[in-house]
Symmetry: C2
Subunit: 487 residues, 2 copies
């Protein structure tokens, strides 16, 4: 077997292990690939000595006995890995945790092997990937373009085929926008399914850890291992039954009204979105026009409203003491949280509650919502020249999901074939209420496989990977339904 061309999708890796390839050989190859990083994807690549304990615990273990045996992964550098500094993209903020984050512990116990801590928009504040003193992260397809953020390096390291999957975080869209820009599946799970213990908060009430993977099947495999309720995290929630699995069809999907769509001049993206609607119809979906107005109002609350004060609370002692250590646009945003009043916060929470009531009404009529993940993509130079406005454009379709407590999966929707960004990938997002992660992943997989695409920025073909299967036995549970019995 030629390891240098081995696709790291999980099914392929498992086949390699079943055929006798050793975990040390695979991880050495993964390490070699990670070392080729010229995209500013990594803040820290683990040394041999740092990786060794994870390999040692797999010695003598049957590869088939662990769901993520020998699967290399990367994690955003706002998530703790024991004895490796966590920087959150700010070297002056760095600390070295004694323990790995609770959800990382689950992955390690399942046999996954960490290769590196990835670059990010500092303190997870941004959707573009340029806001880092470790360098502007470059798109996996074209280094002149942004990677998307804030989970920039996490997306690039998977897209390049260096690791099998990675972890990001997602408050405003940080787990979805980089997936779209790098031809990946990006799962933004139901808030609380993945423990936040050992994760640097952005906005604690609306943060979630996210998963980047080459396929929806891989995202599901990681979610099934990682979604363990955590007593120590007050925001941790148990997975609830997802109810009817609409993914096999027939299903009804929402599509924004024409006047609610924004592609910021990217006509090729608009074309891919229209093709995506037709693709979902061909899969058994009925399109239903949705008025996006209340969703977009909720989206604006995230940065215009008081939630930015959560970012300030998260690093209050640090930014008060060393404001100059914070990356300029990030500092402007986070310091803006200082002046918000509690009255602002409560008034906005009332508004959000009312908007959620309006938005939730759509689920009576549709199973899921289809939107672009981001309307367009920008060059790094463009983003750096206009860092607030262009970043805001990237969050147009993503900012409302966590505020409204929805689950979402970003999925590739084809390649841009014209315009400045020709040759770059583009993607859509499927959204649904909380706890619909599994049906969303299944529908995303069908949508993904209805296209002839490569995996990430690699030469491997999606068609060579198996379709998504049943949820592995896990904390996620199955699609149980509730039956009321009078008594």
């Amino acid at each position: 077997m030629n390891l240098s061309t081995l696709s790291f999708d999980i099914a392929n890796l498992q086949a390699a292990y079943a055929s006798g390839v050793t975990v040390r050989a695979v991880i050495a190859e993964a390490k070699r690939r990670c070392a080729s990083d010229t995209h500013h994807a990594f803040i820290h690549r683990l040394t041999d000595a740092e990786i060794e304990p994870f390999l040692a615990r797999l010695d003598g273990v049957d590869p088939a006995s662990l769901p993520l045996y020998g699967v290399p992964f990367a994690l955003k550098d706002n998530i703790d890995l024991a004895h490796i500094p966590t920087t959150a993209g700010c070297p002056q903020f760095a600390y070295t945790p004694g323990e790995s984050a609770f959800l990382i512990q689950q992955l390690l116990a399942a046999g996954a092997v960490p290769l590196g801590k990835t670059n990010l928009d500092q303190f997870a504040t941004g959707l573009n990937g340029t806001r880092s003193p470790y360098g502007a992260c470059q798109n996996a397809f074209n280094p002149a373009f942004v990677s998307g953020g804030s989970s920039s390096g996490s997306a690039v390291s998977v897209a390049k085929g260096w690791v099998s999957f990675s972890l990001g975080t997602d408050t405003a869209g940080s787990g979805r926008v980089p997936a779209s820009f790098n031809n990946l599946v990006g799962l933004k799970p139901t808030i609380g399914l993945l423990s936040a213990t050992g994760v640097v908060p952005a906005c604690r009430t609306v943060d979630t850890v996210s998963i980047f993977a080459l396929t929806a099947a891989d995202a599901q495999a990681v979610l099934a291992v990682a979604a363990v309720p955590d007593e120590a995290d007050a925001f941790s929630r148990k997975a609830e039954p997802f109810g009817v699995d609409f993914s096999a069809g027939p299903f009804r999907f929402g599509v924004p009204r024409a006047q609610d769509l924004a592609f910021f001049g990217n006509t090729a993206a608009h074309g891919l979105f229209e093709a995506s609607i037709e693709r979902l119809k061909a899969l058994g979906g009925t399109a239903v026009e949705v008025d996006l107005t209340p969703f977009l109002e909720a989206a604006r609350l995230l940065y215009e409203g008081p939630w930015v004060a959560e970012r300030y609370v998260a690093i209050k002692d640090f930014i008060d003491a060393q404001p100059e250590a914070v990356f300029p646009p990030v500092r402007t945003i986070i310091e803006g949280g200082r002046g918000k009043t509690a009255a602002d916060a409560f008034a906005a929470s009332y508004r959000l509650k009312a908007l959620k009531r309006v938005c939730d009404a759509v689920w009576k009529d549709i199973d899921c919502l289809l939107t672009p993940t981001a309307g367009t993509i920008y060059r790094i130079a463009e983003m750096q020249a206009d860092p607030i406005r262009l970043n805001s454009n990237l969050g147009y379709y993503t900012n409302f999901m966590n505020l409204l407590d929805y689950s979402a999966v970003a999925v590739p929707a084809g390649m841009l074939t014209s315009g400045d960004a020709a040759g770059l990938p583009w993607g859509v997002t499927l959204g649904a209420p909380a706890h619909k992660d599994v049906p969303l992943l299944r529908l995303a997989d069908r949508f993904h496989r209805a296209q002839a695409l490569s995996l990430g920025a690699t030469a491997a073909l999606l068609a060579d990977t198996p379709a998504i299967g049943e949820v592995p036995k896990s904390a996620l549970g199955a699609g149980t339904v509730k039956v009321a019995v009078c008594g």
Copy 2:
């Protein structure tokens, strides 16, 4: 039938109507009784002309066809009754609503007849009843003592036998403390069961309308009519199945550790609490000691933390324009909300979330929690001399319930037989998770009937009223249980 001595408990009224007594005769008698108010219970008693439309709609109606046919009630003057001014205890704030509050509309449709708008601690800010420009509301048993608040007049009007039931509101304990001080059942339902449309907010995220009644059966009858989900109120919730009905026993009830109990010198109250524990045991309960520390920390958040900013938001335009119109201690408290930051608000919400996780763990071991409703009671003169500290004492056991999203029923526990407050009633509260309102009411009824008590401050006997029955068919639903079916 001698109407002047007719007990207005609902069962007795229904019997009177069945025997041919007319609604006009009953309401005339109720009006006569209300006119005797020397306790500062009412801000406005309805005139004949104002009552007439409610009587006219009952003309020719079969009394048995409406669950609250001809039942006189009073409502706290922060709840809208169409065409009657709502003052919230502040004449300069008054406005005249065109419509009745959504939940009042339900009661009117069920045949209930409003007799008056009741006095309150201004803007529902207080637990004692003295904070009103309409006069310090006097206890139904002894006018030298506080009525409790903020729903002061609502409690007194029921205790005196002037009306059958009344509505209050409860944020920190305003629906429970006055029940305890006036020998009533006070239901503080699960937040959201009773619509807040047409109610002046105190702290919108933790407010609920509450019900004062002579018996638990009457409180249940009112709840069953009033608990209608309201699309217009973003905080409205549907009743969920209450699960196992623990009220028939055997059940397990929590009791605070000795060091967590505070009676503020009232040894007679302490004795009644110990008797209450024994009474619950005799009803099939097993007492379980509970560490109240996290509950008490949550309680302190309500006034020491940012939630007071919600009170400021609720009347911001008014208090900014006319601060001198606000009653002195109320003004001090509400203006304190102006200076709280959004960072304070989020940090406190995180703390509350963590505390709730700890507090909720008790429900694994107990079905309900028994506490005093208030440790002691004060004279009006004492309260006016030390208005903040003594008020705070009254909320020691009540402030945490809404913050933690619990349901609670205050129930009489006997009369104080020694000390300064001898001759006054005293009560306990049974608390449980949200949606346990019905089992709590049933257990409260058993607890209540295990004592030989009069109804409120009237001469009528509890023993002459029927025990609580099944929940009337209503939005409340029954004690359904959930069964998971894999599919």
